[in-house]
Amino acid sequence: MSEAKVLPILRVEGLTHFFGGLKAVSDFNLTLQGGEIYGLIGPNGAGKTTVFNLITGVYRPTAGQILFRGQSLVGLPPHEIISRGIARTFQNIRLFKELSVLDNLRIAAYAEAGYSPWAALLRNSRFLKEEARIKERSFELLELFGLQNLAGAPARSLPYGEQRRLEIARALMGRPSLLLLDEPAAGMNPGEIQRLMETIRWLREHFSLTILLIEHQMRVVMGICERITVLDFGVTIAQGPPAEIRQNPRVLEAYLGKEAVL
């Protein structure tokens, strides 16, 4: 079977978004095949996070199509998009800071908690069974990420690195098939970055994920992404495998300025 015939997990076509008069993203196209690790890079303010916000329904695109497993996501509320199998992390960690590590995970099970408000008020057997299941699954993930001993601690009390891990664990709680990582290496030292790259590969295998990631650290992007899109001022200036991107004069120009290239 040729690759072109496989239904892509995510297909974005002609995505355009204005903030007032400012064009944040312009005619953005992307096709993600299942199991890929795909990089989205570009200088500050290039519109990368806006793309994530458009995919997850935080913003509604001015124009364009977003198809996830062949179904349009445009116009759906974020929680609906998330429960269809997309999860994301944030550039500046957004945990529920005052709540426990366990609650941070359990909140992400909202969509799959199979009981009614009445069952919750009565704490009936169905409720207790579902809650036990959610708790068990939360602990499975916490153990996987080495956070099980911190289950009762408030999320704000965790060191930076553990907060990042918790955010990824929370994202996995909803059993996503597509994971969007927004600058996962932000604030990490070279040793941590090395481990992060291993983690991202391991995540893909272990959870059968497709991963789309935004990153500033060239080392991460070039090291783990199979394909890359480069954005500059909302416009796609290059698309292809890392080796090609590295050679592309327009990319160097966007990153280093015109003079540096000449």
């Binding site: 997850t56 509320p77 909202y110 908690a113 809650e131 080495g146 929370r170 909803g174 391991w202």
Partner: protein
């Protein structure tokens, strides 16, 4: 030990119920003490109700007296005009529930448009709602208009107040320690992140608001049949301010705090009786001071252990070594 842990709380609640029955007969306490005790219960229900919205959810409702008014007037209308006096005692719970449902319906009507947008919108809508309810009641002659609603039978007693207070406590506890309650907390912490972790924030907000209005309505019904006379001026923004004070005094996001806040404020107002009209300055003044010096209240975001369901016990509040199977 295990036996005490398992049956202790239930036994305590039952003993409390027996005691409330004794009090209802007028034994052991004098009528004034019984009166204060019943106000206390009503105030606990009101505080729990508002705490769900302002404390647990972090939204800002300032018109809870409006929901209380609906509960009071609906139930009073039922017991005075609909239910034959002979059945009053037996049908009082039904009148209370219908009062609560009336308030819940109003809550639904307020919640749906308010939660379409974010921020201070709810505060403005609930403020307007409170004023509308008061003005509307002043213009409905069937319930006495501005003169007030007279001749309400005294059906509220210590036992009923006790039962409803326990109901409110258990209801809030069960709601808060569920998927919906965690959604409520997530909205307070970070609404966008809540949506992006699959929480249907509109559903959660509407559910919480309807439940909260129901409880306020129940408190109103008890209040009406305790005072035997209600008038629209009992349910102005000043009453709403009282509830706000109790929430922010006791502690946001806490059931223990709600009880503490309601108890200390109820007693404070009783002690300030000699000040007459001036005691109504105490509430707003206290609110200002609290907001400046202790915005989370005495028990802010903390909970008394007995109020937390057993299933919520989490091993390891202590920091372990962290085995770090994978990942950084």
């Amino acid at each position: 030990m295990g036996l005490i842990k398992k049956w202790g709380p239930g036994l305590l609640l039952f003993l409390g119920f027996l005691l409330s029955l004794v009090f209802s007969q007028g034994w052991l306490i004098n009528p004034y003490q019984a009166q204060v005790l019943m106000y206390l219960g009503v105030n606990i229900i009101l505080t729990l109700s508002l705490n769900l919205i302002n404390g647990y959810m972090g939204e800002f409702s300032v018109g809870h007296a409006g929901f209380m008014a609906i509960g009071a007037y609906v139930s009073a209308w039922l017991t005075v005009k609909v239910i034959p006096p002979a059945f009053g005692t037996w049908l009082f719970p039904l009148a209370t529930i219908l009062g609560g449902l009336g308030a819940a319906l109003a809550g639904l009507i307020v919640a749906i448009p308010s939660f379409k947008t974010r921020g201070d919108y709810l505060a403005i809508v609930t403020l307007a709602f409170n004023m509308i309810i008061k003005s509307a009641l002043e213009n409905i002659e069937a319930v006495g208009g501005p003169r007030g609603f007279l001749g309400i039978p005294k059906l509220t007693n210590v036992a009923w107040v006790y039962v409803w207070t326990v109901f409110a406590l258990l209801g809030i506890r069960n709601f808060v320690y569920s998927s919906f309650g965690r959604g409520v907390l997530a909205i307070r912490e970070d609404e966008t992140a809540a949506e992006l972790t699959s929480v249907n924030t509109r559903q959660v907000k509407v559910l919480a608001f309807v439940f909260s209005s129901f409880l306020a309505g129940v408190a109103g019904a008890l209040f009406a049949h305790l005072l035997m006379f209600i008038n629209p001026r009992s349910f102005t923004i000043l009453k709403s301010t009282d509830i706000l004070v109790m929430v922010y005094l006791g502690g946001i996001g806490s059931m223990a705090g709600s009880i503490l806040g309601a108890a200390s404020y109820t007693l404070l107002l009783e002690l300030l009786r000699p000040l007459e009209v001036w005691r109504w300055v105490a509430g707003p003044l206290l609110l200002i001071l609290l907001m400046i010096f202790r915005p989370r209240g005495i028990m802010g975001l903390r909970e008394y252990k007995l109020f937390i369901p057993r299933e919520e016990e989490v091993p390891g509040l202590v920091r372990g070594k962290g085995s770090a199977n994978i990942a950084g």
